[in-house]
Symmetry: D2
Subunit: 373 residues, 4 copies
């Protein structure tokens, strides 16, 4: 059995936008139902930049340990925690991923049955960490999975690079596509944004039977990966900087009508309107990547009416989406180089370097890599 130390290092935000510090926190006792994991890899996500810069409408207290896209290896299993949410047995040494914790009691959990909208969600990573049990963020050596958390086992055949994106971007995209209710045979799909949300949206469109799959984004390295993952066309916004010219190009590719389906994974408010302008009459518009609370952008509401659009927003995911995403990776890993989304590996102590590279758009999905530590 693994020797567990008393303390764990963690990278901590102590002031919004300032360099994170490495601190040590006591590793908690494992309660019944709880799990202690050694962090193997922790993905860095666009939201980490937003969190670091203090832009998210979540817990505003500091310090915080970020890192919400984690693969952990089980070190201790609390009493009664014998299986994962899909019914697979759990044992020491297994790798797991887990979801934020819904309260199970509020209007959204109990009455409207939309648990990702839970009014009292317990978040990992997006939380004050000076209170017990401290270690609930991924940018650390160890992390504590609290008793009510839904966890899912990572299939043994997957590499961490293939699986890590499931922890945030991919499970979010899987949940969002459920809202779309499936593609019609041969829909033309435009993806706004070429980051992890955009790329995973692309692969579900490709596998879901889309005809044309067009990714609009930048930089070229992301678009190159999009092509490897099956995009029929890519549009580089660094090269074609005029939205009207991009619209013209998309119309030319879609019989002059515009795309049947748009997935907005851009994270940029103004992109939402670009989609509204180019989508075909009668189209469906899935909005995932708009998370900057309070940022406004002008739109023409009449587009929604004259085009009779369906616009569907989606946020976060629950454990079934982790399960489906992992199953998808397992079943399609021979077709697509899914691990290629991980563009860099940083040590925990290099966290500030990693965030800087992410913010500068030099990465797709870098990870904090504790393997072998």
């Amino acid at each position: 059995m693994v020797e567990v130390p008393k303390k764990s290092k963690a990278a901590v935000i102590v002031e919004w936008g300032k360099p994170l510090q490495i601190r040590e926190y006591a590793i908690p006792e494992v309660q019944p139902g709880g799990i202690l994991v050694k962090v193997e890899v922790a993905g860095i996500c666009g939201s980490d930049i937003h969190q670091w810069r203090g832009r998210l409408p979540l817990d505003q207290r500091l310090p915080q340990i970020p890192g919400h896209e984690t693969i952990g290896r089980i070190v201790k299993l609390g009493e009664g925690r014998t299986h994962d949410a899909a019914g697979e047995a759990l044992k020491i040494g297994d790798r797991i991923m887990w979801a934020h914790v819904d309260c199970g009691k509020c209007y959204w959990c109990k009455i409207s049955r939309q648990p990702t909208l839970c009014a009292n969600r317990t978040y990992y990573a997006f939380r004050y960490c000076d209170d017990y049990p401290h270690l609930m963020g991924g940018f650390a050596e160890y992390e504590y999975v609290i008793p009510p958390t839904d966890v899912i086992r990572v299939p043994d055949e997957l590499t961490e690079e293939e699986a890590v994106g499931v922890g945030c971007a991919f499970r979010t995209v899987v949940a969002a596509y459920e809202r779309l209710g499936g593609l019609s045979t041969q829909d033309d799909v435009v993806i706004l944004g070429a980051g992890p949300i955009g790329l995973y949206s692309l692969i579900l469109a490709v596998e879901g039977g889309a005809r044309k799959t067009i990714v609009i984004g930048a930089p070229q390295s992301r678009l190159d990966l999009a092509k490897k993952w099956g995009a029929t066309h890519v549009v580089n916004i660094d090269e074609i900087t005029d939205p009207l010219q991009r619209k013209k190009q998309i119309l030319d590719l879609t019989n002059g009508r515009g795309p049947d389906v748009i997935v907005d994974g851009s994270g940029v408010a103004v992109a939402f309107n670009e989609g509204l302008e180019m989508i075909r009459k009668g189209g469906r518009y899935l909005v995932i990547g708009q998370t900057s609370a309070g940022v406004t952008t002008p739109i023409v509401p009449a587009n929604i009416v004259w085009k009779a659009l369906d616009i569907m927003g989606s946020i976060s995911a629950t454990i079934p989406h982790f399960y489906k995403a992992l199953q998808f990776v397992k079943n399609n890993r021979s077709k697509y180089p899914l691990g290629g989304i991980v563009t860099n590996r940083y040590k925990l102590e290099q966290i500030n370097e990693a965030l800087a590279a992410m913010e500068a758009g030099k990465e797709i999905k870098p990870v904090i890599d504790n393997r072998g530590r």
Copy 2:
């Protein structure tokens, strides 16, 4: 049999925003499948103001005969035109209503099966009238219903006041509610706007099983009718002028969560955002009354994501919606004073006075009344 004159008077827009002129046009020969009607009443709609002011993204040529919400009495029936779209027999003297004509051949008619989005629609009223057959607008003594037009017979027991709104506002609302897919038992519904779109949206919410039905609009006379039609609450925007205060009021009425469903029938771009701000997480937002092409308003796209909204636009309607709307009026006329929506009757020659009163917000639904003429 009725003596049919050679010519018909019509009110004609000759310059955008200037007074309409009364002109005479030759009454066309009735072709096989065509129908000549004497106009009984022609409703005046908010879109008539937009048309008169030159704001609609439709035919830009002048002159035009407006009036797209017409009850006509059959004067001549073209060969082969024996039944209406619901299979009812037609004869001279029957009252009918009719839809704009979809081409039946474009992508939207044939492939995506969304005929209100037809790429080549033949419009009544919104069209140049110096070409044959001239008389395709309701602000006239006679109107010509061209052969491919879908028509529906007005049930004998209905007054013109009860039925006239079906010609535009009500059939539009019926079509839009189909997109909503039904209310859940006991949804709280907020209606933005107290004009005909808002009022008919209200009555479908009331009959569809909503719990609270709240109309936000003005002036008080419209809100008084809303109460007669079953609104549980009304909010007068002339009295409560601050959107934040209105939002607070709505949250207080809806357990602090916001409405489950919002129907935007306001016609005012900024109202769309007011709805986005007050709707509950996980809510459904039906947008009908946003038709001013090119008018922008700022929104926060992140609301769509964090609230995981469903936003559905709807435009116009097809003949089944006329049928359902008329059936609804017929089946519920004893429960609701539906004729009360008609606030005034003008002679054809008073068209400019009628438009001025409509634009000034003094009317709900005035009509041009040719009865007895």
Copy 3:
């Protein structure tokens, strides 16, 4: 505070189909999260007959305390049980209802999100009662609500007669109507069966905006209540015994096309096919009342194809459906005599008399009435 005795009387099935015996069981200690209630009324349901006769595909061990449609008054509240599932505070003396307990861990609870299909449901009433905590059926003086159970508070203004049906029939119907996705404006609806499932299905059709609402069933007393609850037509199967004649009558009432929507609440296998034969092409068929496992009936599968039907089965419900049903009763009690569904009140010791009357079709919903006991 109420004095709680050590033991509670309960009516117990000791042999399938034989008279129930009154036995005494120890009242359990209330654990954290648990609730002890004094049974006020316990509805008798068609399923009680099936249970008594040994026809249900559930726990086959005896003895069992039946009674799964219970209003209990809180006598003791376990630690931490402070609110109901809708967020209402709970206190001693409140009346509550509760749902069967889903495991929260199986494929249906966690992955496909269909908790009424839970693979490991803990049932009230349908269970062996010689094991602790014994008192989990409603035909008793006291009942124990175990910690993980979802409960809902009965609004103070409701009588027990108005509310009791929510405990099984009405919440089942509310859940089923969610599957239907709402009625279209002015659908013609046929309800098969005039028991509680049929009657509650009727009232949701009436309030949901149906045009014709036709109940096919017997005996006349049930059909008379159906008329009071808004049925536009009733068909007495004791009078019109030939299914072909009934079909003709329904076609005559529905423009020769057949009903747009059928709700099967009959509980009789052969009725399912009667619905298949009369429904209109393109109709929607909601099946609720078919629960006799293993009973076969011949159908023509080609009807499903040639009529392009939608057939939706629904079973049981979760706590949001209790909530919605209670809200519905609260909001509509002045419009409908909802308490009229309770046709008789029996003492606990009269349970065999009550079951006999129920099986003989002499009752709609009789209750075991402990009020004042």
Copy 4:
């Protein structure tokens, strides 16, 4: 320009179940909107056997010219017939396919918008042929496409073998899948039947992102093609003749739960119940291949309720489904050997030999081949 003869040979049913005779019919004048085609290939379908044996609930008069799955090459284009339903220009020499003709006026065409359920459909092939214009069946040298018919151009790059199945089986499957509303990521799908309906259902499941795709049918030659088209498993009903054993095998393949989705393309009434028994709780059941009017089979209606199933029937298709099916073939022809479904080519004069082979189960899709004639 092609020389058009005065008369065309056609294979004619003169008595149900007796050998077809070769007769000659006058080739009609081409009216405005009509099209005369030379038949290139005409597929033979399971329905042809039912028609020949007199089992279909359609026109019962004789003689009839069967053949409803035809690729015709345009010989004469009636005035005004310039484009196909998708807006592609038409010219002499182009290959086209076409749909049965909906009336456009009945309740289903106009009000409920379900045109495949049209009450007054004008069928090709399933019709008395001694009346003008006689040549409306595919087992002939020439066929006449009447003016109101929707036609679609066959893309030039497709072989007749790749395209012919679109004319009946594939467009039917495309229409049916629209009813299914898309597969969830990684659904396990079972296809009942390995004929053209089953095989095209398979390929849409494979391309739609199913996890396991299991075809149950016979003979082995069809199952071998299923494997080439991407079936992950096949079950040969000639080898495993016990339905209970097949059910066990399917449960073993689907985590003991049963398939998430079943598509019944079997054409055998008893298979419908086999699907009901094996589908998982909460599954979706798409029924396409049940067309034998009046044939009964016993089912357990309680399965629909206890499993809370969605059962969706679908019949025929409209021109958008032809379009989507042809687009699908065009876009995926390099991935799948779609032409392999054509197992044999017969001359028109060999029609009785072809029908005998089809009835004996020796073929998948044989064609009458007029190419080079």
